[in-house]
Amino acid sequence: MTSLLGQLVLAPVILPLLGAGLCLAFGRSAAAQRLISIITLMAVVASASVLLFRADQYGPQAFNVGGWPAEIGISLVADRLSSLLLLISTIVTLCVLLYSIGQGIVEFGRDAPLSVFYPTFLVLSAGVSNAFLSADLFNLFVGFEILLASSYVLITLGGTEARVRSGTIYIIVSLASSALFLIAVASVYAATGTVNFAQLALRLPELSDPVATMLQLLLLLTFAVKAAVFPLSAWLPDSYPTAPAPVTAVFAGLLTKVGIYAMLRTQTLLFPTHELRTLLMWAAILTMVVGIMGAVAQSDIKRVLSFTLVSHIGYMLFGIAIASELGIAGAIFYIVHHITVQTTLFLVAGLVEYRSGTTNLDRLGGLARKAPVLAVMFFVPAMNLAGIPPFSGFLGKLALIEAGVDAGDWLVLVGVGAAVATSLLTLYAVAKIWNRAFWQPLEDPEDDTPVPFDPLVLGGSLHGRSSISTATQRETTWKDDTEGVRLPARMAMPTIALGLVTVALTVFAAPMFAVAERAADELHERTPYIEAVLGDG
């Protein structure tokens, strides 16, 4: 029985892969594919919650794949941090899957021609789980590659011109960062003779300072590309908004957070002495400020949201740079909050697009009157993102700012100031969306001038039908003042469910923050993780 529970660590990686295989095997039946993917992700959510419970009660859960000892084999470890992120990310993945199933049914009917979407989506989930659970650098690389390979497919889904263009940029940047990651892995192995995190934690202090700093820089640079930290973030707003709404939502929620997780793991476990703190702090400040400046200047909902995504990565980096226990706990709490909120907002943007045919603020208006439910669905997570007091966004920011004030040196205080300013500007950015899309009536809805045909908005549909038909369809739905159109429940329900998760984070903030603090404590101590990996080897 204990061995069975020990093998549970494998489940979040293996189950989605098996599900993806089954989906391909049942490729002819739409219903079977939907059923398989839902059941698979539900099983993953269940195993992740058991893992979180066990990791919280009994310490990190380690499993050596294939029975090889951790030094030479692959091991998977679920400590509090990874199982917490695993649970929240699989919940988000499940909601997005339900939403995309709803969108597929709404747009193309029950027996929609099948696409590669469901298997690829499950593989993406497996990759994210593998990255969260892996206990060595190379397996982390493999996890990244699994999720990147499936994200390449998802971001170019349907192969329309706009998606190929934006996908190309994304793929080239990802390939470059993967190459950099391989160089980092090779250098680490050359310097220490191992890629296992626990062994690295023991061996790295013996290296000379310049070598250790170089390794740290290489790893940080790699993860910074994946997490879209400021100077390396330019690719993100170019590639994300073009993809279908559920794809953008799950990318925004998860992919950048995997990069942040990798930074958090390597910084706390491998380089706790932190020589690069000043650099990280500057990166955090610039990410926050420059990102939100970009958001303020945009006039498309998806692009505004993409820029706020970049900007709020800065908060998590800020927590990592402070490196005190409170700072790390704040960062963990903020990651959990941001995964759910950002995903919800992108799903709502997808609904806005479905309802009005566009997400361009110049062509939207009066949605609060026409679609009050949609307005509420946007309002709650938007205020949460901006950090209005009762919400979890406020609590996360407060913890980070408190940790910053405690640390007390001038650079950290500059960071605190940047965090407050970013928070205000985020409020301005979401208020702008609220004003122009939901509150103000559209200036001149009967205007006959031809709409500038905007390829960025094109092809919001999941299956990427030919762009022309989508365009005409969009134009007609946009011009009618469709008073009676209701939101499709199949798409709205998962969005509302995810919105409720964000509210639940606020309601149960105290136990949540306690878990985050215990996770930070565990990261700070380091020994439980190292013993769990090497102890039974």
Partner: protein
């Protein structure tokens, strides 16, 4: 640890020429560049695994053996490179099919902003906030700013 200078030179040349190719505009060249980089990095893993000559098998005899782990890693990296190269080729073909060229194109919004900067115009949002009388004039009225006229043939 001993390192083979020849192999290191090979890594340097392959990765260097790969990077040069990646800086090109054509997607096919970029792909060839990444293939070169990928193979160069596989050689780097050989460098990392220490001196050559011994068998990489664990626990069969007391003879000195080569470190098998980097070879396993290089194998995995080869598979991944193969997969992404295949996908990239498909993408380049699709781009060529759609536009007649496989050049990597600029982002439309970036281009819009750049042309605004050339004309010394402020953004739409700025207009919206400060100029209350004719809010949408700047964008809707000037059709030459609309993105569609920039899409290359």
């Amino acid at each position: 640890m001993t390192a083979n200078l020849m192999l290191i030179a090979v890594v340097g040349v392959m990765v260097g020429s790969g990077v040069t190719l990646v800086l090109e505009r054509s997607l096919t060249r970029i792909l060839v560049g990444f293939v070169l980089i990928g193979n160069g990095l596989n050689v780097l893993f050989l460098v990392v695994s220490g001196p050559a000559g011994a068998a990489p098998i664990l626990g069969l005899s007391g003879d000195p053996m080569a470190d098998p782990l980097p070879q396993a890693m290089a194998l995995t990296a080869i598979v991944i490179t193969l997969g992404t190269t295949g996908f990239g080729l498909a993408l380049a073909y699709r781009a060529w099919q759609l536009t007649g060229t496989d050049d990597v194109q600029d982002d439309l919004e970036d281009d819009l902003i750049r042309r605004r900067a050339e004309r010394d115009e402020v953004s739409v949002t700025f207009d919206e906030v400060d100029d209350t009388e004719l809010p949408d004039e700047g964008y809707a009225g000037d059709s030459s700013l609309a993105p569609e006229d920039e899409v290359p043939a």
